[in-house]
Symmetry: C2
Subunit: 147 residues, 2 copies
DNA sequence: TATTGTTATACTCTATAACTATA
DNA sequence: TATAGTTATAGAGTATAACAATA
């Protein structure tokens, strides 16, 4: 390993991690229920975890811009996964929450999670799974408190 | 942790990992040198690591379809990062390799890698960095021998 | 016929800028 | 004026299907 920059260890790791994450994200985009992409699935799971939330809150949680959230909400509405209501006190505010269909869908998806990624994870040793488990938490922390 | 499916540990982990990877990939797509996106950068690094390779080999390594590689190669050519030649023995085959400019660019990018991701990695402890380092290797293995 | 790569087309995800509606 | 969200537009990344060139 060449050590030439100020922080070689993290620079090297950044490169390696970027490659791994980019590739896996691309694969994930192709797998799973074709009707709901990984992006929509993550948004739906956020709405489930958080409970009823405004479009702006969803944007903040997903770390995307408001127009993107408009599209996400539209796509989830089209699929009947969420319900949208206006705030009775502030007409500018839109609330979204899981629909019963969305809840069932998430359960179904989770039951089917033993697909691409889980199948691949099963090839790993318990120690490797442990590494990935701790790494997932770190990945989430890496994207927190952003912008 | 709820244990209800056939392989609960991996199913849970799959979900967690998918969320982390999807979010970080989205962030990475927005960072870095605006002239070369993470996708192009990964492709360029593959060409560097591998040395001269055919378009088909690049598709296999990047795990994308041939039309996608056509576009990747076009984008890298436009930016002067690679050179393209025809195989003298088999006219169907296209070879690509790093140009001097591409090589300099990669060096420059690496020197500048102490940006978004590296900066965030520095907030982690040595133990956490070690976890991520082992995890990056695992992420690459997860997308190997596919399709 | 089979293989390598390109072209045509379409979809997803994202952004910025400009806008509407409401406060 | 300021804020929440939408519309318009554009660009990156990917795919499948159909094609051209070569073997």
């Amino acid at each position: 390993m060449m050590l030439v920059t100020a922080s070689p260890a993290t620079a090297d790791l950044a490169s390696q991690l970027r490659i791994g994450v980019t590739r896996l994200a691309r694969r994930l985009r192709l797998e799973g229920d074709a009707s709901v992409t990984p992006t929509l699935l993550v948004a739906l799971a956020t709405i489930e975890r958080h409970g009823p939330m405004t479009a702006g809150e969803l944007a903040a949680h997903e770390q995307v811009r408001k127009p993107t959230v408009t599209r996400l909400i539209g796509a989830l509405l089209e699929r009947g996964m969420i319900e949208r209501t206006s705030d009775p006190l502030d007409g500018r505010v839109t609330w979204v929450q899981l629909s019963p269909e969305g809840r069932r869908f998430l359960q179904r998806v989770r039951r089917r999670k033993d697909e691409y990624l889980s199948g691949r994870l099963r090839r790993l040793t318990p120690g490797e799974l442990d590494t990935l488990e701790r790494a997932s938490a770190l990945l989430e922390r890496l994207t927190e408190d952003d912008r």
